[in-house]
């Protein structure tokens, strides 16, 4: 158990090395190796969960080793209630991703090698407690993603890949500047826990070109993370990348990589610059509103099903942003409303998990139909409900989850975000409830055009969803349903950590230090 986190991070690299030694013709062996690697990793994440103490809101299973002592850089890992669910989700979605990728024909060896490298990058980001290490893993994700989209993607893959790469790199550069700013002003350390302790005071009162250093660094880091979320107006790489990426990569992109943005904001911005939260929260809620409305309207107008789902991510992450802004409710200015802060932040974090499972499901389902019909034009289908009843039923549940139907997990997290943010941002929350309608409108309209009406003659021999596809989507469906009916197991994991984040933000939150 001592090095369980290292095991999680380096397992995929071991798998990658193993794959490197397998001859390229033995494609099934390569696939199986990838499945075994990610499967083992998934089991380890479950093991981690079972050993995790949910009452403890601080970092657990910490690992620390000297790395580059001259710059005070260390190999420092840890997991808490914020990262644990994401670690489990990562383990699961990469495992599922292998099976979603089973039909990849082109350069199988390279594909799975990069796939596993991506896995290491993602795991590393979630588990790093050293900012330098965090940044390294952040960049490690970028490279395999570039190739996975650029080589295995759709017709416009190269454009999409380069756009994704540059967009994200732009954010990374800003982030790097922010990290260095923190490093030099906070006692030359990259240690996130140490920074969480010292940064709020060390940065207080420092002015750069007449601006508070906290604000500058906050914005630099925020943009870096916002691009991943993606927050309007940094979102346009997403639809393109999703449309061009192979199904499994879309699944991972929506299911996990977007969450790194929200995760980063909470871990870094909230942890290191809690006073900035007060300064920025209104903007955060407003950006959330824009995401909800803009993403919803864009989704409504889409003709390509995958692009619709991509824009739905923009829309759904908006709820998360609104919920995050609710943390300030626990401050004195809002009457120490701990209820609202817990509902909001908990809702935001829950929403990122739920969106992870729901959007993964949606992308897999889009992949299923694309595999058969070789197109994704919503108007080009029609009447599939009679031809593919099981697929229709599963898609119906996934769509209903997407539109926030009670009984499915998305509802609870959205409702929590709203309820949490309401005491502080009444106007914004009321305006964003229009999302309740928009979500339903774009999902149901798409559903009608694909599945209802007379069966399109062209598709009268379309085969039903197969066992392998069912295997990838049903677990996600069960989780969505289970957490929708009984969310307690999830909330138990995050609850203590949420409290410590809220208390941390509240305890430092004064405008004076800025």
């Amino acid at each position: 158990m001592e090095h369980i986190l290292s095991l999680l991070i380096w397992l995929p690299v071991m798998g990658m090395v193993a794959i490197a030694f397998i001859p390229r013709e033995k494609e099934d062996l390569i696939r199986t190796s990838a499945a075994v690697t990610t499967g083992t990793q998934f089991l380890v994440t479950l093991l981690l969960w079972s050993a995790f103490d949910s009452q403890d809101g601080s970092m657990q299973f910490k690992e620390w080793a000297e790395w580059i002592p001259s710059f005070n850089i260390a190999y420092h890992l840890g997991v808490d209630g914020l990262s644990l669910p994401m670690v489990i989700l990562t383990g699961m979605l990469f495992f599922i991703g292998v099976f979603v990728s089973w039909n990849i024909k082109k350069a199988v060896k390279g594909y799975f090698a990069l796939f596993l490298l991506l896995n290491t990058g993602v795991m590393g980001v979630f588990l790093s407690l050293d900012f330098f290490l965090f940044y390294i893993f952040w960049e490690v994700m970028l490279l395999p993603m570039y190739f996975l989209i650029g080589m295995w993607g759709g017709p416009q893959r190269e454009y999409a890949a380069i756009k994704f790469f540059l967009y994200t790199l732009f954010g990374s550069v800003l982030m790097l500047v922010g990290i260095l700013g923190l490093y030099f002003y906070c006692g030359k350390t990259f240690d996130i826990l140490e920074l969480t302790r010292v940064a709020p005071e060390a940065l207080g009162g420092i002015l750069w070109w007449g601006m508070s250093a906290i604000k500058v660094i906050w914005v630099l880091l925020f943009i870096g993370f916002a691009i991943k979320v993606p927050v309007f107006p940094f979102h346009t790489w997403l639809p393109l990348a999703h449309v061009e990426a192979p199904t499994a990569i879309s699944v991972l992109l929506a299911g996990i990589l977007l969450k790194l943005g929200v995760y980063g904001i909470i871990r870094v911005n909230y942890g290191l610059m809690p006073d900035g939260v007060y300064w920025f929260s209104t903007a955060l809620a407003l950006l959330g509103l824009i995401n909800v409305v803009w993403g919803g309207l864009c989704a409504l107008a889409q003709k390509d099903l995958k692009k619709l789902v991509a824009y739905s991510s923009v829309n759904h992450m908006g709820y998360s942003l609104i919920g995050m802004a609710a943390v300030v409710a626990a401050g004195e200015a809002h009457g120490l409303n701990m209820k609202a802060a817990q509902a909001g932040l908990g809702g935001a974090v829950f929403q990122m998990f739920n969106h992870g499972t729901i959007s993964a499901m949606l992308f897999i389902l889009v992949g299923v139909i694309y595999e058969r019909a070789h197109h994704r034009e919503i108007e080009g289908f029609g009447g599939l409900a009679t031809q593919m009843p099981i697929y229709t039923g599963i898609t119906a549940v996934a769509f209903f989850a997407g539109l926030g139907l009670p009984g499915l997990s998305g509802f609870i997290s959205e409702a929590m975000c709203f309820i949490g943010a309401f005491p502080v941002y009444k106007g914004i929350v009321i305006a964003s409830t229009i999302g309740i309608l928009l979500n339903a409108a774009y999902f149901l309209w798409a559903f009608q055009r694909i599945f209802f009406g007379e069966l399109n003659e062209k598709y009268s021999d379309l085969p039903e969803i197969n066992r392998m596809e069912l295997f990838t989507v049903v677990p996600l469906l069960i989780i969505t349903l289970f957490l929708g009916i009984y969310p307690a197991p999830y909330l138990d994991i995050i609850s203590s950590t949420m409290d410590s984040i809220i208390n941390h933000v509240v305890s430092f939150a004064t405008f004076a230090s800025m």
Partner: protein, 682 residues
């Protein structure tokens, strides 16, 4: 005996869910496609509901109240508790749902015989019954909202049962989305209340309001927000547009959901939240309800589709109930909900029976063009379908408000309350006018429907011989519910057909509003009591007037409907076309919204992304080209290579002095020394 209420409620809630799960996964493989599973589950809930009902009657306790709740979600300070609330209203409502649901299940075995998605249909009925019972049992706004949305889904699935038809698919989507508009208000209302009181439970909310945690305009807004949910579900103006379209669903579904139970959920919610509605909120409720009652009735008058008449009639009757809540007599609203559930479900079964028969008759003639629901193709069915006729006639008398029938009692209670309200607030004289005018129209159009369908000469004589009474699975519910349209069932143990006094009024007693400024339940009751006789006379008069006009027009032919139509052409067109609401919504709401969405998507993709974001790429590209050019042309070619070229030039020039001859070198050295000496001498 003590705890059967909670235990039975649990069973009543989850049995239909179990049926749903079994049907979804195994329905197709079971014998008879598993309809017996659903019917078994649902009739068990009926038995349980009857047992609870009997227990309630035996208890005879107007204050009976039981609650059970559990923590569903807990984050420390923020927690959501869900739970049950069983009082007399709950028990009655559970019985209504179980009874109509059972009837619908039985009726459907014939009506949907041979349907391609027979087992799926029964599965959705189970899902619906589960969700509906969830609403009925909720002791808090959160689970109410959750089940609220779930009935929306079952409604979506059942309206879209024949989704091959575009009209059905459109109607199901429209129903869901229109309801969601209301639900936005519902959710905002919940947030306003939770923000002030910190709980979702009704009991906490009532306590919170009475202790003044939330008051004034916030409370009014919260009340109107919650009521918006009711407006969506109960199809109140201006969200009424979905219910008539919902008739695309199978007729038994219309009876169960879109007449008796689901659409009444809005009324049920209003009844539950009545104590926290402020006087201003109540006025909004009253006007919405009253106006809807009249408005929908005025549309029903001209409809020719038998189900559309009933649909608008339902909207109108729901308007009545909402009006009753608004004017303070909310127990009368619930009473009308009860009687209406019986007679309106029955009217739908009757129409289903007629349509079923028409369908078969037309099928015999291989006629697939004629609309089996158009009353202009019917007429003279009275003797062909006697059970259907008599049963429907009972229910029609009930809905028209004729004494001896159930509707008279409940409608009278509502109108008395409304009249009394106007007596106390003369400025709101329109409310009773809405009510009585709608009552007259109701009597008129319901008998118009009966006359056109069953009386007169057959309009399609060639099919009349093939019109037969429906099988017993369909006539059974008709007989049962037709009987339940009689007054006696609602006034026992008393036999006075003119008074609502009976077990219902003994057990469902209004409680005081917790909002300061509202009249007490006793004041309202006394007012209604005083207005009772006047209201009764007027309502009998308008009912008789309506029925007479209908008879005079359609049977006696003393008035020509055609002549009236011609004379008031534009009014007729308005009414016939439902005041062009669909067209205007389409023109001013849907289309602009889609255009907005398309515009936004265009800005996002074609403008912002292509020019702004990619602009950075192009800018960088351009800058890199410029720097590249500068780098190559200036730095590399000019400066770097220039240095090289200079060196080469010097090299070339200087190499000529390297002659290798010693004399030359001595000469250079000597010259150099001389130059140095010259320089030094300065």
């Amino acid at each position: 005996m003590e705890n059967i209420f909670i235990k039975y409620s649990l069973l009543i809630l989850f049995l239909p869910l179990a049926a749903f799960v079994i049907q979804i996964f195994f329905g197709k493989r079971l014998p008879r496609q598993g309809d017996w599973v659903s019917i078994g589950a649902i009739s068990t809930t009926l038995v349980l509901a009857i047992t609870m009902f009997v227990a309630m009657i035996m208890k005879d306790d107007p204050d009976f109240y039981q609650e059970a709740s559990f923590t569903w979600l807990d984050m420390g300070d923020f927690e959501i508790r869900l739970g049950f609330l069983v009082d007399n209203i709950t028990v009655i409502m559970l019985l209504v749902v179980a009874l109509i649901s059972t009837c619908t299940h039985v009726f459907s075995t014939q009506y949907l015989k041979g349907d391609i998605r027979y087992s799926r249909y029964f599965a959705y009925l189970g899902l619906f019954t589960f969700s509906m019972n969830g609403i009925v049992l909720a002791n808090n706004l959160m689970s109410m909202y959750m089940f609220w949305e779930l009935v929306g889904v079952s409604s979506y699935l059942l309206i879209g049962h024949w989704f091959e038809k575009d009209s059905a698919a459109n109607a199901s989507k429209k129903a869901f989305l229109t309801n969601r508009v209301g639900d936005i208000g519902f959710f905002i209302g919940i947030m306003l209340i939770y923000n002030a009181i910190g709980s979702f439970a009704f009991s906490d909310i009532f306590d919170g309001v009475s202790s003044g945690l939330i008051a004034g305009s916030t409370l009014t807004l919260a009340g109107i927000g919650l009521f918006m949910g009711a407006m969506g579900k109960s199809s109140q103006f201006p969200l009424h547009i979905w219910l008539p379209d919902a008739m695309e669903g199978p007729t038994p579904v219309s009876a169960l959901m879109h007449a008796a139970t689901m659409v009444a959920a809005g009324v049920y919610l209003s009844v539950r939240i009545f104590p926290i509605l402020t006087p201003d909120a109540l006025l909004v409720v009253a006007y919405v309800g009253g106006f809807t009652a009249l408005f929908a009735a005025s549309i029903a008058i001209t409809q020719t589709d038998i189900k559309k008449v009933l649909a608008y009639s339902t909207v109108s009757q729901l308007g009545y109930m909402i009006l009753a809540v608004g004017t303070g007599v909310y127990t009368a609203a619930f009473f009308h909900l009860l009687t209406h559930a019986m007679f309106k479900a029955n009217l739908f079964y009757g129409s289903g029976s007629v349509i079923h028969s028409m369908h078969h008759a037309l099928h015999e003639k291989h006629d697939h063009e004629t609309d089996p629901q158009d009353m202009h193709n019917m007429g003279g069915f009275k003797d062909r379908m006697p059970i259907t006729y008599w049963s429907m006639l009972f229910s029609t008398l009930a809905i028209a408000g004729v004494p001896l029938f159930s509707g008279f009692l409940s409608k009278d209670a509502i109108l008395a309350g409304t009249l009394s309200f106007a007596q106390h607030h003369p400025a709101h004289f329109l409310l009773p006018v809405f009510g009585f005018a709608a009552a007259a129209m109701t009597a008129f159009y319901m008998f118009r429907m009966m006359f056109l369908t069953f009386h007169g000469k057959p309009k399609m004589p060639d099919i009349i011989d093939d019109i037969h009474e429906s099988p017993k699975e369909m006539t059974g519910p008709l007989i049962l519910l037709g009987t339940l349209s009689l007054f006696i069932w609602y006034t026992l143990p008393y036999f006075n057909p003119m008074s609502t006094h009976g077990w219902f009024t003994d057990l469902v007693v209004p409680s005081d509003s917790v909002v300061p400024g509202n009249p007490s339940a006793q004041q309202i009751e006394e007012g209604a009591h005083h207005a009772h006789h006047l209201a009764m006379y007027i309502s009998i008069a308008v009912a008789v007037l309506g029925i007479f006009l209908s008879w005079f027009t359609y049977i006696k032919k003393g008035l020509s409907a055609q002549a009236w139509t011609d004379r008031f052409g534009f009014l007729y067109d308005w009414s016939f076309n439902k005041y062009y609401f669909d067209e205007n919504y389409d023109k001013y709401i849907y289309q602009p919204s889609f255009r907005l969405a398309e515009r936004v998507a265009w800005i996002d993709w074609e403008l912002y992304d292509r020019y702004f974001i990619n602009g950075f790429g192009r800018l960088t590209n351009w800058a890199s080209k410029v720097t590249g050019k500068f780098d190559f042309d200036v730095i590399d070619q000019f400066i770097v290579d220039g240095t090289g070229r200079m060196a080469a030039l010097f090299g070339r020039k200087l190499k000529t002095i390297q002659t290798g001859k010693l004399q030359n070198y001595v000469l250079y050295v000597t010259a150099g020394i001389i130059i140095l000496m010259v320089i030094q001498s300065f």
